[in-house]
Amino acid sequence: MPVNDLAEPADETLMLAYASGDASAFEQLYARHRGPLYRFLLRHLRDAALADEFFQDTWQRVIAARQGWKPEAAFGTWLYRIAHNRLNDHWRALKHRPPAPEDAEARTERVPDPDTPERQLSQFEQRRRLQLAMDELPPEQREVLLLRLEQELTLEEIGEITGVGRETVKSRLRYAMDRLRTRLNE
């Protein structure tokens, strides 16, 4: 979650200004959240075309709901909740977990044997392990982990986005961290 500078208006102020008809306020708001939101979607979907579609759909919902929006929660929380719901609809429509990436087999084959002298992985290999570990996480744990590590949202905010309680978010985050830690230390 980007922290607004003191000189810059808060997200909620910009959203209210946009709801009142100020298009430039939306441009500022969009500039703040476009990158993190897009990456969030792309990490989940692992498909640029789908990420573009979901990204545009999320912002369209923000535009359509501007009149009824009230600053009861942070704008970022509301924005990512919209994206989360859109992802859930997508997963529900697929009826199963998102398919593994097309190069999953190659990735797995490229994983070095830990018993080999190449045990000392380079930094590149470390990132590859991290990527594989992220792919193996359940969606709900991966979502919580991304919202926490990339967006730096609080547990409460993540709970508002995902629709679960704070303890559930905390538990999911702990399980995700353990799996990553285990996978990276292997």
């Binding site: 922290v3 909620e12 946009y18 709801a19 009142s20 008809g21 100020d22 298009a23 939306f26 441009e27 969009y30 476009r34 990158g35 897009y38 990456r39 792309l42 990490r43 573009d52 990204f55 545009q56 912002w59 369209q60 535009i63 359509a64 501007r66 009149q67 600053p71 009861e72 929660a73 942070a74 470390q126 990132r127 991290l130 990527q131 992220m134 991304l146 926490r148 590590l149 990339e150 730096e152 609080t154 547990l155 409460e156 905010e157 961290m177 990553l180 830690r181």
Partner: protein, 375 residues
């Protein structure tokens, strides 16, 4: 709003840095950015009211419901008024016929009157149609004709009782002074215009219908009054025939008496006797005025009125007893005597009781005290 910021732990920050290096590093394409920003601007420009809610569409059903209710109310009022407007018109033609029919008959009956009975016939003939026409009829009939028929019928109910027992008798110069104002008040209005008012309604009924449109509220009462007047006229005509026959018989009887009396030479030498006057009076056709009726004082004390006077006064019995209360005390007492003399003791007693209630401080004449059962 925003919850307190929870900084990442060192482990989380290390993983975050690893993820950031892992990618993806890019963002949405410039085309995607342009589409989203264009959609945002278009939404703001198309908004009807900046920052305001879209006004809900006005509901028009209350207006339609009000109009429908008004139309229904108007239709209901029109439906209620329609029968009230048609009933008098429908009853006008049959009601007018019986009213005027006796008048025509009376005219023909008047033409058939025997000249020998002229002394009593004019009185009876003029008296018979009187209840059917108000005292003010001549002036109105002369000006507007039958157009005032309904108003006349309504006025009959009030005008008839106000007429005294002798008010029906034509004015005679020889009447006493106290009766002169009363006769001059009613006689010139009631009788001279009787003849011209009778044929007028039969000639033009159309103005009557036109006039009724302005007097719709009096239609029902007028129709009832006409029906009652027609019934009264029919009954009066029968009584008139009876009275005429009785008068003829009485005249014959007096003629026989006068023959007996005038045959006496002893009495013929002196002043003319009353019998001679009586015999000459019926035969005297030349005087234009009818014979003077006996004064009220004489009739008050007499218990055997003449047949013509009986027939004349019978018309007063048609008036309800309650109408007697509108008469002055003298005329009221006269009406009571008339009822008593004609054998209508029940109504005479009722009228006398009303008289005592209305005039508790006025002394009841001695001749009427037997009605009350007091000596």
């Amino acid at each position: 709003m925003k919850t307190p910021h929870e900084p990442l732990t060192p482990e989380e920050r290390a993983l975050a840095q690893s993820l950031s290096r892992l990618g993806p590093h890019g963002g949405p394409s410039p085309g995607l950015d342009a589409r989203i920003l264009a959609a945002a601007r278009a939404a703001v420009q198309d908004a009807p009211a900046p920052g305001g809610q879209v006004p809900p569409p006005r509901r028009r059903w209350p207006l339609g419901l009000g109009v429908a209710a008004s139309v229904l109310l108007a239709a209901g009022v029109a439906w209620q008024l329609r029968p009230a407007y048609e009933v008098p018109v429908a009853s006008e033609v049959p009601a007018a016929a019986p009213v005027r029919a006796p008048a025509v008959v009376m005219d023909s009956a008047e033409a058939d009157i025997d000249p020998a009975a002229a002394s009593a016939a004019p009185v009876a003939v003029q008296e018979a149609p009187a209840p059917a026409l108000p005292p003010a009829a001549p002036a109105d009939a002369a000006t507007s004709g039958p157009a005032r028929k309904n108003a006349e019928a309504a006025a009959r109910q009030e005008a008839a009782p106000k007429r005294g027992p002798l008010g029906l008798i034509p004015a005679v110069p020889g009447l006493s002074a106290p009766e002169a104002p009363r006769i001059t008040r009613s006689a010139p209005q009631a009788f001279p215009a009787e003849a011209p008012s009778a044929p007028a309604p039969a000639s033009a009924p159309a103005p009557v219908v036109a006039d009724e449109a302005m007097e719709m509220q009096d239609r029902a009462a007028a129709a009832q009054a006409r029906e009652r007047a027609a019934a009264q006229q029919q009954e009066q005509r029968v009584r008139y025939e009876e009275a005429r026959q009785e008068k003829a018989r009485a005249t014959d009887a007096r003629a026989l008496d006068s023959i007996t009396v005038t045959g006496s030479r002893v009495q013929n030498r002196g002043t003319p006797t009353r019998a001679a006057d009586a015999a000459s009076a019926p035969a005297d056709v030349t005087p234009p005025s009818p014979p003077a009726p006996p004064p009220p004082a004489a009739s008050a004390g007499s218990s055997q009125p003449s047949a013509a006077r009986t027939a004349l006064r019978r018309t007063d019995l048609q008036v309800p007893v309650d109408e007697d209360t509108r008469l002055p005390p003298d005329e009221w007492l006269e009406r009571i005597r008339l009822r008593r003399d004609l054998g209508d003791s029940a109504n005479a007693l009722r009228s006398l009781q009303l008289f005592v209630q209305a005039h508790p401080f006025q002394r009841v004449p001695d001749d009427l005290r037997p009605l009350l059962g007091t000596p």
